[in-house]
Amino acid sequence: MILGENQQFASPGEALIHFGVKGMRWGVRKEKDPSFGEPYSSENGNGHGSKKFELKDQTQLRASNTQGFIDVRPKSGFSSPRVQKNHDELVSSLQALSKEYPNLANLKVEVVPMSKTPEMKKFYDHGSAAALAPGKSGEIRLGYHDKMSKLPRERRLMRLQPGLAHEGFLGNHEMGHALAVAGGVFPPGFSAENGSIRQKVKYVRERDRLHREVLQKHGFTFHELSKISNYAATRPEEALAEVAGYYFTPSVRSHLTPEQQRKAKSLFDDLGGKQ
């Protein structure tokens, strides 16, 4: 049946028959599968059957799924306050922004310690406090560096990414990447991670192109973003994440001009599926 533009419905129930699933309740999200390991179920080795995604030393880890995502921690606890901060910032930003952005809330998320996560080895080795790795479609891992007692080379690091000095910025930066996945500009990485060098290079170029396009669509240029932070001048995906870091962290939001804040709202509403 084709509906006319001004078609009226006798009741919400009648509208649901046309637009929704009978029995569905508006505003009530379907509960996620509570089993550990969605997307990386224990049935397939917590890695979709790929060693490159399989969590290591699983007997040393504890996973909980009480908050709508999988939270993986060392059974022995966090090794330092810095590690706890890396973890907690990811979790609190994810929780806060998932309430605001439906596309983000619909991602399947695991929060994982980097040292146990093979596809994050490069971030771990290079001392990134937190990182995102996209899995298959609609899936991400948010990794926290779990072996540092403080941010190494802090003074130099702060010149590159000064936002890191502010509470909440680290988690909000990573939520920029998560929103990019949710909005389809940060493609699933599972195939590329398991693919050839050529596939990896193609993947990076495609990710690059999609980020550039969405930044341009919302009026951001390289020139202005490279002034937000030096780190924003490295890659388009990091520029987008830096905008998120500043926009979502109240204490530093004014680092963005009112016009940049307006563009950031439009960008993240678009990626996050917020009407």
Binding site: K121, K122, F123, D125, H126, G127, S128, A129, A130, A131, L132, L151, P152, R153, E154, R156, L157, L160, Q161, L164, L170, H173, E174, H177, I197, R198, K200, V201, K202, V204, R205, D208, R212, F222, H223, S226, N230, Y231, A233, T234, R235, P236, E238, A239
Partner: protein, 62 residues
């Protein structure tokens, strides 16, 4: 990801930033880690690093 704090990562990003600022665009390619053991500044560097032949390069970017 948040910025790397290793000496190697910070040095390489300094180079990437300098090159991008010269270009006025995010042109330099910064890849590092397991697959790319060093930071490489261009796609050609990546391909050369892994020994991809010139004849194969055309195919890889089509």
């Amino acid at each position: 990801m948040s910025a790397p704090s290793s000496e190697e990562g910070l040095n390489a990003l300094d180079n990437v930033i300098a090159e991008n600022e010269k270009r006025g665009d995010w042109g330099a390619l910064a890849l590092f880690g397991e697959a790319f053991p060093t930071l490489l500044s261009t796609v050609n560097d990546v391909l050369e690093h892994f020994g991809v032949k010139a004849s194969e390069r055309k195919e890889s970017f089509e």
